[in-house]
């Protein structure tokens, strides 16, 4: 009984308070890769805890197996890992786990289908009216407005308008290319896509939306860093300013921090301290480990070992 309360509490915490807290940690932008791992751990632990919470209410035969696997006395296993005597609750819990899995799977299909059809359309159009420039997989589109993006996937490519080519100098152009290539080589579309799936599967969990927005930002920072490593801060911030200033105008940016935040970040030369990096890494591991530790604690408790109160 206590286990489910602990797990449930942890689940609520990680789904609501934790995302809010993480979004306040500004220094994550100094170590975007670790920051990304932290957000991913947070989301994974929410899903994992939900599944574990349901599984510990498993019906008799499942709890038998869990107890056997942990070499506990069957009775102790029963007490901790199942709702005693209530087979129906146990079965409902099992069904709930399956529903959880189904919901995620359906959302995954929906998101990837929408994504893929968009990408295929882009590729067809680009193959028809785009002009490959220079060497590998860079396509130009005749349009005065400076725009740059990449089409991820198997036949990935980077797209730039003729307007972008005019607006950027050689170094800035190369920096943008490097930024987009970083997205492609590190499969950022899958990283963000995973969060799209969670948002789609569980739209009532606002923590997932927050996570998705922050992960999208972190991923841009990671790509910016890759471009800075090769072409320097000036080229990248120059490109950001020019494409932002002369690019297409849209509705008021609801969540995006936009160009200013990214340029400010690049100009901030403070390094991520070892302390910061270690803390983030430890926090990530702790978040992932905690629900597992909670579940295994009765097993760790020495009094339960080999002692069957018959």
């Amino acid at each position: 009984m206590r286990l489910s309360v602990l797990l449930g509490g942890y689940l609520l915490l990680m789904a609501t308070a934790a995302p809010w807290a993480l979004s306040r940690i500004k220094s994550l932008s100094r170590t975007p890769r670790l920051g990304l791992a932290l957000w991913q751990a947070c989301a994974a632990t929410v899903v994992g805890s939900a599944a574990l919470l349901l599984l510990v209410k498993a019906p008799d035969n499942v709890s038998h197996r869990i107890a056997a696997a942990l070499e506990l006395c069957v009775h102790t296993g029963h007490r901790v890992y199942s709702v005693s005597g209530r087979g129906i609750v146990g079965s409902v819990a099992l069904i709930a786990v399956l529903l959880l899995a189904a919901r995620i799977s359906i959302a995954a299909f929906r998101v990837s289908h929408a994504s893929l059809s968009r990408r295929f359309r882009q590729r067809d159009l680009l193959a028809l009216v785009g002009s490959p420039i220079a060497h590998e997989r860079v396509v130009m589109i005749e349009d005065a407005t400076p725009v740059a993006y990449c089409v991820p996937g198997r036949k990935s490519c980077v797209v730039m308008t003729s307007g972008a080519l005019e607006a950027l100098d050689n170094r800035q152009f190369a920096a943008v290319l490097e930024h987009e290539r970083a997205h492609l080589s590190e499969r950022h579309h899958l990283v963000v896509g995973a969060f799209d799936v969670l948002v789609s599967a569980f739209p009532f969990v606002t923590g997932f939306r927050l996570a998705r927005d922050h992960v999208a930002r972190l991923v841009e920072m990671i790509a910016d860093d890759a471009a800075v490593r090769r072409f320097g801060t000036e080229a990248v911030s120059g490109a950001l300013l020019r494409l932002g200033a002369f690019g297409p105008v849209g509705l008021l940016n609801a969540g995006g921090p936009g160009v200013f935040a990214r340029v400010e970040r690049l100009l901030d030369t403070r390094r991520a301290s070892t302390l910061l990096q270690t803390s983030v890494a430890m926090l990530t591991l702790a978040i992932l480990a905690l629900p597992i530790v909670l579940v295994l604690m009765p097993a760790i408790n020495p009094a339960a070992h080999g002692f069957c109160p018959l």
């Binding site: 994504s115 028809l128 005749e142 930024h179 200033a245 105008v249 200013f260």
Partner: protein, 122 residues
């Protein structure tokens, strides 16, 4: 495979240039002036282009006639419109270098760019 893509471009360029209904044979004869290509190849290509929505089949008593679905410019515009609708949906289908700015933000950025550089160290 890349050759097939190249041929698709060539066929569409011809159809756009002619700006009328064309048959497979029309296109085939034109292509054969510069390259070796079979009727079935051209037919496959034109059916593919139809499937992709770039050509429209025109019902005709005699042979299959096709015409361009729309102009080249319209397709170029479609690329851009499509690229931004993906971003608007908060979908990660494409990854833009920068998001669309609001008019105010764009103005501020332009002001920043016009400011002369204070420290012009190399």
């Amino acid at each position: 495979m890349a050759q097939l893509g190249e041929l698709e471009r060539v066929v569409m360029e011809r159809v756009w240039a002619w700006n009328r209904e064309v048959s497979v044979r029309d296109v085939l004869e034109d292509l054969q002036r510069h390259r070796v290509v079979a009727y079935t190849t051209v037919m496959t290509i034109m059916h593919r282009l139809e499937r992709k929505g770039f050509l429209v089949r025109v019902s005709s008593a005699r042979t299959h006639m096709f015409r361009a679905a729309t102009t080249r410019e319209a397709h170029v515009a479609e690329v851009m419109a499509d690229a931004w609708s993906a971003a608007g949906d908060r979908q990660s289908a494409l990854m833009h270098f920068v998001d669309r700015m609001s008019a105010a933000e764009a103005r501020q950025l332009r002001a920043l760019l016009e400011k002369p550089k204070r420290n012009s160290r190399p």
